[in-house]
Structure formats: C-alpha cells, structure tokens
Amino acid sequence: MAVSRIRRWRPTTPVITAVLLAAMPLIFISDFARAIQLRFCVMLLLLTGLNFINGYARMSSLAQAGFYGLGAYTAGILAARLDVPPALAFVAAPVLATVAALVIGAASLRLRATYFTMATLGAGYILYILFGRMTGVTGGPNGLLGIPALSVAGIEISGPLPMYVLAAVLALLGVVVAYNFERSRAGRALRALGASEPAAVASGVRAFRLRLFAFALSGCYAGVAGALETFDATFVSPSSFGFLTAVLCVVGLTVGGAGRAAGPLIGAALLTALDELGTEYAGYEMLIVGLVFLVVVQAFPGGVAGAAGARWPRRGARPAVARATEGSAS
C-alpha cells in the first residue's frame, strides 16, 4: 500500500464520544439529567456491541436484550443473593454473557442469515421467560431487590455522579476498542465477510470463527451494560429485557448506521431521546419508531451515518471490500 496522503484531520468517533461524555455532565448537572446520561452510556454499550454482529458481520441478532438481561441478573444475583463482592459480580456479568453468546452462536451461526435472526430471537425470548418465571432465583416479575453499592478496593461507587463516571469510562473504552477493532486485521476480515461472503472466504477468511468472535463481543458489551444498569438502579426487573428491547436495539443501530463507527453513537442518542419522549407521549413514539425504521431499512440502509458519509465522503476513501480484503489473505 502506498504511503497515505496527508489528509485533513477530522474528528473520529472515539474523539467525539470522549468530548460528548465529558461535556454532558458539565452542561446538565441535575440528578435527573445524570440518569439520562447514564442511560445513554448503557445504550451506547449495547449498540456498539450489537454493531459487531449486526453491522460488521451483517447477521442480524435479536438476542442483545437477552444478553443485557443476563448481565444485569448475573451481577444482581451474585451481589444480592450470594454475597459475592460487588466488583467481582460486576466482572462476572460480561463473562457469563460472553459464554452464553459463544454457546448460542456456536449452535446458530452456521444457519443462513434469516434463520440466525430467528434463532437469536428464540434464545433471547427463552432468557426473558427465565428472568420473569424463575421466581426463586430472579425475584420474578416483582424484580430483584437488595443490590449492594458497588465498591472497588474499598472505595464505594454510588450516587449519580460516580456511577456516571464509571459508565462513561466503560462506554468510551468500548467505543475505542470497537474503533480499533474495525481497523484491525480481524475487523477488516469481518467487514469483508459482511460485504461478500464468497469473496471473503475465497480470500482465506474463516467465516464461522470470525462471526462467533463478533457475536461473543456483542454479548460481552451487553453484559457490561447489564451490570452497569443493575448497580445504578440497585433493582432488576424482567420487563427491561423483552422482545421490544431487542427490537429497539436493532432499530437504534440501523437508524444510526449499522456497520459504521458513528452508527451506535447516533443510535444511542436517538434511543435515549425516545426513552424520554415515551414517558410523555405513550404510544405515538412507537408508531414513529416503526414507520421511521420501515423507511430507513429500505431507503437508507446505511442509516444516518451512512447517509452523512455519502454526502460528505472522506478523501481517499475506498469501498469497504477493497480495504477489508487487504491483508486477510496471507
């Protein structure tokens, strides 16, 4: 590859994310605003994770809400019922969600895209039913109570601001990892696979392993999001992890721009705004969500980020396939 030309510097997604996450608590300082900001971080983690499988690999997963709930309940049950140190419970959440994603992915990633979607839907729904019905373990529909405050090395992290700082740091870390992954060899191979499976496989990409890796990453991010949610709310209720949440994750990512670094950021902002609208205009917001999604999926498959990228292309930008296949055949 030729030495790259000198390009005008443009803000990258991690930079924008860092500025946004740092500026938000300085501009809006009420506890109410802090709750919304934390919600945004959780959404950002969920969508950034989902972007690995739905965006880069182009296999639509509807299991994100299930992994999110698995993370939330793992952290909650370990900390509240089994007296595991909260910090350890926090770490266990993404671990278990990753393992669940590996198991579900190993069984379902050999299926064609549409059937994979249905398998993840089934798996996610079973998790949701278990959250609500295993009353002895999860507290059932009444929710899980008595979750202790999070503390690391004797320092207690509780209250709106410390929780937000933790969420912001984790969300930023997640975005940076995803951004670097997108540009790594594995990331390029994964995007090549999403663009054209036969071409990627012919270039030596191991399709199944790579997809499994992407799916496991999506589970891991959802696990972190779940643990954050649990220790912030100190309460877990099954209703947050149902089919609607799974659909909203896909909607947010698709409208934001699936397969693009900026997609989850835009999607998370939209979903957080929607959450607030929903409390005021119950019903109308879902009608708008459905209709907007319907149009975006068909007319703007790249979402907001894709439409913006087509309007203001990066100089020297080449099609993803050309970039992605480089270096994957050795």
């Binding site: 639509s60 069984a107 379902s108 050999r110 299926l111 064609r112 895209a113 549409t114 059937y115 979607t117 249905m118 398998a119 839907l121 089934g122 798996a123 729904y125 079973i126 039913i129 278990l130 019905r133 009353t135 499976e197 089919f243 659909v247 896909v250 909607v251 698709t254 019903g283 109308y284 879902m286 009608l287 969500v289 459905g290 209709l291 907007v292 999604f293 319907l294 149009v295 999926v297 068909q298 007319a299 498959p301």
Partner: protein, 291 residues
C-alpha cells in the same frame, strides 16, 4: 375430570390458531423468501376489529368475522405497500427486517386507536361447553379446527387448480423466472401478504371468544406461529398445520402436567431444537437453510 383429554382440547384450540399463523408464514416465505414479523399482528388486528365491531354495533357474529377478514385484506395490502415499494433492492433479509418496523407501527397504531382496551367475542357455536369423556371441550375449539381444515383444503386447491395459485407456486420455486415472464414482484407480494393477513385475521376472530384481544396480543402469537412453521418446514402447507397443532398440544401438556409458568417457553425451545438439528422442518427436505 380427565386431565389428558382436557389437555388435548386446550392444546388443539390454541394450536389451531398457531396453525393458521404458521400457514401464513409459509405462504409469505414461499412468495418473498422473507420471514414476516407482522404475521402475529394480523391476528391481533383481526381479533380487535371483530371485537370492536361486535361491541359498538352488535351485528350478527358472521358480520363481525367478515369485518375481521376485511381488516385482514387491508392489513395485507398495507404490508405489501410498506415493504416492497420503498426500495429497488428486494432481498429477503431487507423485507424481513422491514416487517419488524411494520409490526411495531401496527401495534402502536392499534394501541392509539383502542386506547389499550381489551375486546372479546361470544362463542360462535353457543356458550355451552361440550362434555366429552369426562372433560370439557369448548365449542370454539371445534370452530377453530374446522377453520384450519377448510383453510388447508381451500389453499391447497387454490395453489393447485387456479392460475394465480400456479403463479405463486412458480414464484416460490424460481422468482426470477416468474418476473421475467411478466409477473411483477409486487403482484406476487400483494397476493401472499393478503392471504397471510386474512388467515391471521380469521385466527384472531376465532381466538377472541377464548381470550380477550388487545393491541399487545399479537407479538407472542406470531413468534409461536413461526416456531410452528419451522417445525413443519417453512413453506409446507400441511406441515404448518401439524406444526401448529403439535406446539399447541405440547404447550398445553407442559402447562397441564408441569409448570404453567414455563408454557410460553415451549414454542421457543422447539424452535431452537428444530433450527439446530433439522432446519428444513420435520417433513420438508427441499430448501437449504445452512450455509
């Protein structure tokens, strides 16, 4: 009371509705290659429309059912407009994902129009339950099974004996040939979505006497109906009927003999088992779904 017979009756009555939904999934999958996430919402629309008409005007029952069918026709036409007119690229994946948006919008529209109210209908064949061998059978079960039977035979005749049915079968085998012979994609899509929506609406009207219908009744029914369609082999007419009845029966058995709490999980466990072990379904061996 005879628990086994009771379980069988309960299973068949709701299984018949799953069967109608499953047949709808199959018809759409054959015509467009897509999985129609709005399928469950058709059931909801049918049930709610029949219930609203009954509650507001108190017409004879057949009129309420006919209104449900008419609502189904409209819902099918809306679906075709919504998923096949916006884009040139008609991949099955895009249509599948687009129907998720439509399902969300339909549900929200009914929520707003009905203000979250629930609706029911009287039994079609009289309120007095039948007593058979120590168990109680709801007369509505008989009606629902009869509808499934008539639908299966009728559709089978339609697909084999009529010109339009033959075109739809040809589209299922090779959509490109059918398009090149002058039948546009949206014509095929319109037919299959209307058929699927009418089946769903009939199921909804038949279910309304058994359990009240509201804007949120459709989603779970649709997902269970998909499990039934996969069990019988997606696109296989009789397979879908059997799949629906089997899922209804297993669900009733789990609720009757085991724990009612996990009844809802049955369909999804069956869906995963069939996807992982035999994704072509129990009876069909035609289509390759693994890559």
């Amino acid at each position: 009371m005879n628990l086994l017979l009771q379980v069988v009756f309960a299973g068949l009555s709701v299984g018949a509705v799953y069967a109608l939904v499953a047949v709808g999934f199959g018809v759409v999958a054959n015509g467009t290659g897509a999985v129609n996430f709005a399928q469950g919402e058709y059931v909801m629309v049918g049930g709610v429309v029949a219930g609203v008409v009954h509650e507001v005007w108190h017409p004879p029952l057949p009129v309420s059912v006919l209104c449900a069918v008419a609502a189904g026709v409209v819902a099918g036409l809306v679906t075709e407009l919504a998923v096949s007119r916006f884009s040139g690229a008609r991949s099955a994946e895009i249509i599948t994902i687009a129907t998720i948006g439509l399902a969300v919008a339909l549900k929200a529209a009914v929520l707003l129009l009905t203000d979250r109210k629930t609706y029911g209908l009287p039994h079609f064949l009289g309120e007095r339950p039948l007593r058979v061998g120590g168990a109680v059978a709801d007369t509505q079960t008989l009606w629902n099974l009869a509808v499934v039977f008539v639908v299966a035979v009728g559709l089978s005749l339609f697909f084999r004996r009529t010109r339009q049915g033959t075109i739809l079968r040809a589209a299922a085998d090779d959509p490109e040939v059918v398009t090149s012979l002058g039948v546009p994609f949206h014509s095929v899509a319109r037919w299959v979505f209307v058929i699927a929506a009418v089946l769903g609406a009939l199921g909804g009207a038949g279910l309304a006497p058994l359990s009240v219908m509201s804007y949120e009744s459709g989603t779970l029914l649709g997902l269970k109906g998909f499990a039934a369609a996969m069990l019988g082999g997606l696109g296989n007419l009789y397979g879908a009927v059997i799949g629906g009845l089997v899922i209804g029966l297993v669900e009733a058995a789990v609720a009757g003999y085991g724990s009612a709490a996990y009844g809802d999980a049955v369909a999804f466990v069956i869906l995963l088992i069939i996807l992982f072990t035999r994704p072509t379904g129990l009876f069909s061996q035609r289509k390759v779904v693994r890559v």
